[in-house]
C-alpha cells in the first residue's frame, strides 16, 4: 500500500505548491485596512487543504504548522482579530517555511525542524496576543522580543507601520540590525551576544548529525560548516538567506499540462476527423488509377487520425482509482487515531473519468471520507451496544449512469442528526423549520461555518469542510446529494457531469436530424409489425418479449419535422435506463460509432432528454439522447407536454 500512496505524492506536492502560490497571491493583494472576508476564506481553505493532504501522507511537520496557521486564519476570517500588516508578514514568512518544508519532503532531505518550530511559536504567540490585543499588550510584547529574539523582525515591520512611540521603533531597529549582523557574522558589537547562540546551534546540529550517522547510509554527509550554516536559522523567519540542500534535480517522469491546452487539442482533432471524412467523401468520387492511390492514402490518413484521436482522449481519461487509492491509508490512520474500527470497500475503481475531475475530486472526497469516519462511524462499543458489528464500513463507489458519473461515500454509522442540524441552523440564524423535508435539512450542512461537532479537532469540526466540498463539486458542474437515516448510516452521492467523455453510440435518423443513443442503453432494434403495436388511451405500447413496452416517438419528443410517427413505418429501438425500459421510434438506423460528448451547457443550457451534443462526420451537430432523462420526463407524464 505504501507504494500506492507514494505514487500520489507528486500530485500532492503539485497541489500544495498551487495552494501555497494562491495563498501568497491572496496575501499580497489583501487590503489590510478592509480585508475581503471572501479572500480570507480562500486563504483559509487553501491552508485547510494542505493540512488535509499532509495528514493523509503522514507529513506531520507540515500538518502541525498548517494547523496553527489555520487557527490564526480562522480567527481572522471570523473577524475575531484584526489583520495587520505585521500579521500578513507573519503569514508570508510562514509560507516560506512551508515551501521549504514541502521541498524537504519532496527531495526527501532533512526537514527544517528549527524553522518549523520557530514558525509555530511565532504563530502561537501572535494568536495568543491578538486574542486580547490592547496597546499595553503590544508594548509588553516588544520588550519580550528583546529576549525571545524570535520574531522581532516581524514585529519591527509591524511597528514601522504603526504610530507607536519612537523608543519602540528604536528597539526594533536595533533588533533587525542585530539579526542582519547575525546572519553575516559581522564583528559588530550587536552581533556579539548572538554568537554564542550560533555556536550552540551549530553544536546541536552536530549532535543531530551524530544521530544521523546511525540512520541509513544513503543520508548525504555534509561538511560541518554547511551544517552549521544550515542550522543557524534559529530565526529562520527573518532570514531567508540560507544554503539550500540541493539534491540533484530528478528527471520528470510526467509533465503537467494545462487542461485548456488539451481541450484545444481535442477540438482540433475533432476538426481533423471531420476534414478527413470530407476528404474521403471527395476521394470516392475520383475514378481510375489516381482514385485508387488516393483511396489508399485516405485509408492511411483515417487510421492515423483515429489513433491520434484515441491518444488525445486517453490523455484526459483516468480511472477513478487514481483518487480512491489514497484512501486506505487515510482510513487506517484516522480510524486508529480515533479508536474506531473501519473497513474501507472500494467499488467501481476502474470507472474512467476526466483527469480534471479527478484532480478536483481529491479535496472533497478527503473531507467526506474523514467526515464519515469522524462523525459517521461510531466507536466499537457504541456499535456493539446498538447491535451492529464492531467494524464500521465505509464504501467508496463510482459508476457511470446515463449522462453522469456518480461517486458515493457510504457509511453504516449513526447517520446525520436532524435535531442537532436544525438547532445549529437556528443558532446561525438560518430560516429553518422542523417540517422541512429531510433532503433540505441535509443540505444545511453545506453552509459556510456550519459544524455540529462539539469541539474543533484537526480531523474535522470546523465547518469549513462541507463548505469546501460543495464549492469544489459545483465548480466542476456537479451536485451532491445526501441520504441518511438515523442509526443506519448516511450516504453522500456526488453526481458529476460527463464532460468530454466518449460514448459508444447508435446513430439514428429522425426527419432530417441525427440522434445518438448511447449503446449502453440499447437492448435491440427492429421494425414492429402491426400486431405488436397496441394503443393504450392516447399512448402506444409495444408487445414484445412477452411484455408491454411504452413507446416514445422521437419525432414528437424532439419536435422534429417530417419524422415517422406511424410505428410500423419506422424502427423501434428498445432501451433500458436505470428507471424504466421503453422503446423509442425512429425513422431508420444510421450506424454505430464512437462520439465525443460535447457540453450543451457551455454556451447554452441543459435540455431535457439530451445528455449532450456531438459533431458528426459532416460537421453537423447531433444530439445525444439521455435515456434516464427521457424516461423521467416523458413516460411518467404521458399526456402532458414536456416542460423544461
Amino acid at each position: 500500500m505504501t507504494i500506492d500512496v507514494n505514487q500520489f505524492h507528486g500530485v500532492f506536492f503539485d497541489e500544495s505548491d498551487e495552494h501555497l502560490q494562491d495563498m501568497e497571491q491572496l496575501l499580497m493583494t489583501l487590503d489590510v485596512d478592509n480585508p475581503d472576508p471572501e479572500e480570507l476564506n480562500s486563504i483559509f481553505r487553501a491552508a485547510h487543504s494542505i493540512k488535509g493532504g499532509s495528514g493523509i501522507f503522514g507529513f506531520d511537520a507540515l500538518m502541525n504548522l498548517t494547523h496553527v496557521m489555520e487557527n490564526l486564519l480562522d480567527k481572522a476570517r471570523n473577524q475575531e482579530i484584526q489583520v495587520t500588516a505585521a500579521i500578513v508578514d507573519i503569514f508570508l514568512q510562514t509560507l516560506d517555511v512551508l515551501k521549504d518544508t514541502l521541498a524537504a519532503y519532496k527531495e526527501q532531505t532533512e526537514l527544517p525542524q528549527d524553522q518549523i518550530e520557530a514558525s509555530i511559536k511565532v504563530l502561537e504567540e501572535t494568536l495568543a496576543r491578538a486574542s486580547g490585543q490592547t496597546a499595553d499588550d503590544l508594548q509588553e510584547s516588544v520588550h519580550q522580543q528583546d529576549t525571545s529574539a524570535q520574531s522581532n523582525d516581524i514585529e519591527g515591520f509591524g511597528f514601522f507601520d504603526d504610530d507607536e512611540g519612537e523608543a519602540q521603533t528604536a528597539v526594533s531597529e536595533t533588533q533587525s540590525e542585530e539579526i542582519e549582523g547575525f546572519g553575516f557574522f559581522n564583528d559588530e558589537d550587536e552581533s556579539s551576544h548572538s554568537k554564542p547562540q550560533t555556536e550552540k546551534t551549530a553544536n546541536e546540529a552536530q549532535d543531530d548529525e551524530g544521530f544521523g550517522f546511525y540512520a541509513p547510509e544513503n543520508l548525504p554527509i555534509k561538511p560541518d560548516a554547511e551544517q552549521a550554516a544550515q542550522s543557524v536559522p534559529k530565526q529562520p523567519i527573518v532570514k531567508p538567506v540560507k544554503p539550500k540542500p540541493k539534491a540533484a534535480p530528478k528527471e520528470a517522469a510526467s509533465i503537467r499540462v494545462d487542461t485548456t491546452k488539451i481541450d484545444a487539442m481535442v477540438n482540433l482533432v475533432g476538426e481533423l476527423v471531420i476534414t478527413q471524412s470530407m476528404l474521403s467523401n471527395v476521394g470516392q468520387e475520383v475514378e481510375g488509377q489516381i482514385g485508387e492511390r488516393l483511396q489508399l492514402a485516405i485509408d492511411e490518413l483515417q487510421r492515423n487520425t483515429r489513433e491520434i484521436q484515441e491518444s488525445v482522449m486517453s490523455m484526459r481519461m483516468l480511472p477513478v482509482n487514481m483518487t480512491f487509492n489514497r484512501f486506505p491509508r487515510v482510513v487506517r490512520d484516522l480510524s486508529s487515531k480515533l479508536g474506531k474500527k473501519v473497513d474501507l470497500v472500494i467499488q467501481g475503481g476502474n470507472t474512467e473519468i476526466d483527469k480534471s475531475l479527478i484532480e478536483k475530486l481529491v479535496d472533497p472526497l478527503t473531507h467526506l471520507v474523514r467526515n464519515s469516519i469522524d462523525h459517521g462511524v461510531e466507536s466499537p462499543e457504541k456499535r456493539l451496544a446498538s447491535g451492529k458489528s464492531e467494524n464500521g464500513t465505509v464504501i467508496l463507489s463510482a459508476e457511470q449512469k446515463g449522462s453522469s458519473i456518480i461517486i458515493g461515500i457510504i457509511d453504516d454509522g449513526a447517520g446525520l442528526n436532524k435535531e442537532r442540524i436544525l438547532e445549529k441552523a437556528t443558532q446561525n440564524g438560518l430560516p429553518v423549520s422542523p417540517d422541512m423535508p429531510d433532503s433540505e435539512i441535509w443540505q444545511l450542512i453545506f453552509q459556510a461555518g456550519f459544524s455540529t461537532a462539539a469541539e474543533v479537532t484537526d480531523v474535522s469540526g470546523r465547518g469549513v469542510g462541507m463548505d469546501v466540498v460543495r464549492r469544489n463539486i459545483e465548480s466542476i458542474g456537479g451536485r451532491i446529494e445526501i441520504e441518511s437515516s438515523q442509526g443506519e448510516g448516511s450516504a453522500f452521492y456526488i453526481h458529476l457531469p460527463l464532460t468530454l467523455a466518449i460514448v459508444d453510440g447508435m446513430c439514428v435518423s429522425v426527419g432530417d436530424q441525427i440522434f445518438v443513443i448511447p449503446l449502453l442503453n440499447v437492448i435491440e432494434s427492429f421494425q414492429p409489425t402491426k400486431s405488436q403495436v397496441k394503443t393504450l388511451g392516447n399512448d402506444k405500447v409495444l408487445w414484445i418479449r412477452d411484455q408491454y413496452w411504452p413507446l416514445v416517438s422521437l419525432t414528437q419528443l424532439m419536435q422534429v419535422d417530417n419524422g415517422v410517427i406511424e410505428p410500423t413505418k419506422g424502427i423501434v429501438v428498445l432501451l433500458e435506463s436505470s428507471k424504466k425500459r421503453y422503446g423509442v421510434l425512429v425513422d431508420s438506423l444510421v450506424g454505430q460509432q464512437q462520439v465525443v460528448i460535447k457540453s450543451l451547457e457551455q454556451h447554452y443550457k441543459k435540455v431535457a432528454g439530451i445528455a449532450g451534443a456531438t459533431i458528426m462526420g459532416d460537421g453537423k451537430v447531433a444530439m445525444i439522447l439521455d435515456a434516464d432523462s427521457v424516461a423521467a420526463n416523458c413516460i411518467n407524464i404521458p399526456n402532458e407536454e414536456v416542460s423544461l
Binding site: M558, Q559, H603, K605, I615, V621
Partner: protein, 167 residues
C-alpha cells in the same frame, strides 16, 4: 485647459465603436468588442422544447453554439433564411451566441454625447436592454446593450443557476 478642449479630450477617450445591423425596418447597433465574427446562416440542429426564436445549435469549430433569431423574438421583419441571411457571433461572458439579423451595415463611432436616452416605448426591445439612441446619417440607430440581453432570463439562453454564479 479650456473648457472646450477638456470636453474634447473627454469625448475622444470615451468614443466607442459599434456594429450596426438591420432588423426589419429598424437600425440597431451593438458594442463591437462583443462581436466574435460574422458569418452566413447555415443549417442548424434543432433543440427540442426550445422557444421558437432559438433556432438551434451549430458547430462553430468544435463548440456547440446556440443561434437566436432576434427577428422572431422581437417580432420585427420577416424570418426568412437565404444566402444573404447573416449571423453575428457574439462572445459574452465566455459564452458564444449567434444572432440572426437581416443584414450588417457598418461600423460606427459614437461618443457619450451622441447617445440619447432610450424611449420608453415604440421599440421592440425593452428599454432595459438598450444603451440609448443615436442619430447616424439621418437614421435612428438603436444601441442595444447586448450583454444584458444575452444573459437575461427573457432569452433563456443562460441557466438561472449559472447566471447567479457569474454575477
Amino acid at each position: 485647459m479650456s473648457e472646450a478642449a477638456l470636453q474634447q479630450a473627454v469625448s475622444a477617450s470615451q468614443e466607442n465603436e459599434f456594429l450596426s445591423f438591420v432588423l426589419g425596418e429598424e437600425h440597431y447597433a451593438l458594442d463591437i468588442t462583443t462581436v466574435k465574427e460574422i458569418r452566413g446562416y447555415e443549417q442548424v440542429t434543432k433543440i427540442a422544447n426550445a422557444p421558437s426564436f432559438i433556432k438551434g445549435v451549430i458547430n462553430l469549430r468544435g463548440d456547440i453554439v446556440p443561434i437566436v433569431d432576434l427577428r422572431i423574438k422581437f417580432n420585427v421583419g420577416e424570418a426568412t433564411y437565404n444566402d444573404f441571411t447573416i449571423v453575428i457571433m457574439l462572445n459574452v461572458h465566455d459564452r458564444i451566441v449567434g444572432i440572426v439579423v437581416d443584414g450588417v451595415s457598418d461600423v460606427i463611432r459614437l461618443s457619450e454625447e451622441d447617445m440619447l436616452p432610450p424611449p420608453e416605448f415604440g421599440v421592440a426591445f425593452d428599454s432595459k436592454y438598450l444603451h440609448g439612441l443615436a442619430d447616424v446619417d439621418e437614421h435612428m440607430v438603436i444601441l442595444v446593450n447586448i450583454e444584458s440581453l444575452i444573459t437575461s432570463n427573457e432569452l433563456g439562453l443562460v441557466e438561472t443557476k449559472t447566471q447567479a454564479v457569474e454575477v
